[in-house]
């Protein structure tokens, strides 16, 4: 997992999997990097081969954290697998999804 600051944007990438075993760690690590100045959280899911409901839960938790600071969470370039799960669970309406 890579976390980069770009001005008031935080970019999180390098996520091969977001599952029950690592979702909690992912959420906590990103939260630790969030500051009130950050208005945009970009989560790059382009390498994510596996995403489950726990991973979705972590994304929602982060979305709420950012929204509390008037920020947004965007999903960047989700893999077809991740995209399908987001759609199945109607979360593509909650997150802004940016495709290349």
């Amino acid at each position: 997992m890579k976390i980069q600051h770009q001005g008031n944007t935080l970019l999180v990438g390098g996520l091969t999997e977001l599952n029950a075993a690592n979702a909690g760690g992912f959420r906590d690590a990103v939260r630790a990097a969030l500051t009130p100045q950050i208005k945009q959280l970009d989560v790059d899911l382009s390498e994510t081969r596996f995403l489950d409901s726990s991973g979705l839960g972590a994304l929602i938790a982060l979305h709420k954290t950012v929204a509390a600071n008037q920020g947004v969470l965007r999903i960047l370039q989700p893999t077809p697998t991740a995209q399908q799960i987001l759609e199945l669970t109607r979360l593509h309406r909650v997150f802004e999804i940016v495709k290349s």
Partner: protein, 605 residues
Amino acid sequence: MSGAPNQWVRKFTVEFPCELTGVREACRQSRAELAAAGLGEEELGHWELILAEAGNNAVNYALGWQKHRPVRFEFFVDDQGVEARVQDHGPGFELPDQVELPPPDSEDGRGLFLIKTLSDEAVYYRGKGENWLVLKKKRQATGTPPVAVTTPPPPDDAGTQKLANSEATLDLMTEELASAYESLSTIFRFSAELADQPKPEEFARKWLGEVSKIVAADWFILRLLDEGEGLKLVASSEDLSVREVLSLDNAGEADVSLEMRAASFRMDVWFDALHPVAAVDPLAKLAAQGTGFSHPIVINDRLVGVLSVGRYLSDSVFQAGQVSLIQTFADFLGIQIRNAQFQQQQLQTKLTARELQIAADIQRSLLPKQLPHVPGFQLVGHYQSARQVGGDFYDVVETAEGGLLLAIADVMGKGVPAAMFAAIFRSQLRAAAERATSPATMLTWLNRSLFADLDQVEMFITAQLVYFSPRDRTIQLSAAGHPPLILAGNDGRLQAVENSGMPLGVLADTEYSERAVSLPPGANLLMFTDGLTEARDPEGKLLWLGPLEKCLAQAAKTGQRAEQTKEALIALVEAHQQGIPPGDDQTFLLLAEYRGDSRGKPPQL
């Protein structure tokens, strides 16, 4: 599970430790196996997610010791579809037919939705010790057929395939049958031994011990309903100290006690890590860390008792087969105990009736068939037994001197023992007839000879002995704790003649005294037991002496026949009782001077 007859039916099992990282690894492994079975990329992705959600649930729901047991995926793959079974050892959860998505901002609650949505069929079988989530999904037509499928199955193999598919089902059924057989054979053995085990408590303890072993229970407690008292402890596994009685009236307790809840709701009440027992529950100490249940025993819609069975560790939940064995056995035991209690009651009733019959027979045999004839006097006796036979009796012994020893006694006690003592007393009395002229000497001697036996059974006898000398027209009276006798003359004057001493059987060595009384002209002398004066009317009022004395004085004045006086006395008592049966034996002995119907005529006896 291996060695399926057809290669194109693929079966495999993935077992993993009960933790989230274990789930992830198992999903990868399962995906690889399914890929080898020829599933396409998209299907593999779906299965991986389904299994991940199911596996995570199994892990997340497991508690405490349940986490030490592995979780298991079983797969059955053919060219039509995949069936996966996920086994967990947790308390289980509800899987609704329709699973709705949670609100968009909810961080959880999507797992079951994904399982339901991505599979064609998802059914959760909830058992006591283990649960199975059975998931089915058709294979996609676009999926690459498995390598082995290129070899067509032998034409007659359709049946074989079905058989192989059913193998797992058969395994489950075999387990079920084995437990059913266990139940049946236990019950048969139990029934066979029942004939030799007269005490319900004993066979309950023994057989619950056996059943506990079969189902691997650590403890059991059997309580039976006692109408007056509540749920009474009848049997428990060794070394258990639990409260003897649970009162059914204690409403506060009914809410917390497992056993009371099982009794009042008439359904099994379970306890485990998720449903712990209350600290005030009488089973709290036993059930605190464990698992088990209280099962109400209901026969013909009537609560008979409650059986509670448990294990000390909450991870080892009873399996369905074990639960049904316990339930079946408890109900069977309930029927047996009820029957045994009923038989016992019947037997007891019969025994009591028989004992009363014996006592009554002895009692009747003691009474003299015929009273001696004394010139110028009439002698009559009366004995009316109470419902429960007591120990009253009277006797008259003729002495060599031409006198009579009149005896009346009341053995304190009921049934056969009292009747036996009356018999002993009578034979002793007759054996010592040479002492009859001195009733005091006789009582002193009787007390000495009877004391040890009476004292041992904590019984005693009140007695009154009167030696009557017709020639001297005197009586010698001695009494052992007995009511005074009443003496009336033809002038209507009454006297109560008393001579008090301790009842027989109270003091080991006591001397009785006696007093002599001359009989007045036209004497009527009445000796009686307290059952007569203590006859009760329906309100419980006692008759007392007054009416008897009045009756006796009247008899002496008119000089009527003793038989007539006897009838009058009986009528008097019966009138007082107004039909209610006497509570105690009523006995009297009447000696009346009789000069014939008109003066001077000889008596017609």
